[in-house]
């Protein structure tokens, strides 16, 4: 499987480490009334889709960047690769 790194170009997936569902970017608000439930879901519950899935990949054997990779779990086709920091910032996680 080849991952098209946004900055470094096509890289073998062996250089990367899978770090889980990209929803981990959306850390719940600890001051929310439903925080206990939110963190339980954040920590333990995952979708397991047969199809398109947004995933975090860490370029461990490369430039150590975190990526959000949109991958089809049935075919391993990759439709989109973004820098995780850009995704996080676009969701207001830049503070």
């Amino acid at each position: 499987m080849i991952i098209e790194h946004p900055l470094l170009g096509p890289r073998d997936s062996a250089e990367f480490t899978y770090m889980g569902d990209a929803r981990l970017i959306d850390r719940p608000d600890a001051s929310s009334e439903t925080a206990a439930r939110d963190f339980y879901e954040y920590g333990y519950l995952r979708e397991n889709p047969a199809g398109w899935h947004d995933e975090l990949w860490f370029h461990e054997a490369g430039d150590r960047s975190w990526l959000v990779v949109t991958r089809n779990t049935l075919t391993h086709e990759i439709s989109k690769v973004e820098m995780a920091r850009d995704v996080a910032r676009s969701r207001g996680r830049s503070k």
Binding site: L7, E15, E60, A61, G62, D63, R64, S65, M83, S94
Partner: protein, 187 residues
Amino acid sequence: MHDLISTTALGGTEPQINTFPHVTITENDGVALASVAARMGHEKACHAALKKLLGAVPGPGRAQLHDPEAGFWMGPDQWMIGAPKASHELLADTLKDLLGDAASVTEQSGAWVCFDITGPAMPEMCERLCGVPIRQMQSGDAQRTVIHQLGCFVIRREADDHIRVFGPRASAATLHHALITAAKSVA
């Protein structure tokens, strides 16, 4: 008064040189290093200061080979700056004075070991060590990769047969062993 003798990363008083028929591995004890990470909102000021220092700001996968200070890209808004240790031992302090609040600077001289690999068999040796596309790399290309399970930087220098490898200093002997093994296998 202490009378201390400085040692190289491999533990000697002089840098180690290993010569093989077509390739030479030289421990380079003369590089001072410091990392620069632009602070959020100060990226432009950091770029401007680095451009003034190096002549250009290296982009992804690139190094700016320049004297006395040189630098290479490590990640978005992050660079490693190097300079001769003899004249720039306090490189991190100098850079901090230069960059101020525009960037966070960390001393790195004590964290890395530097090896220069030269000779006509350098590409074959590099191919045995790591996955960088050495035959496609041009002068000034810099890649982070893994050699012998160690995260290393490989920089293609001016000469076509010369790469510089930066690896974790605490594992200098392990990296050196991997380089020697690869050099023997191409000899």
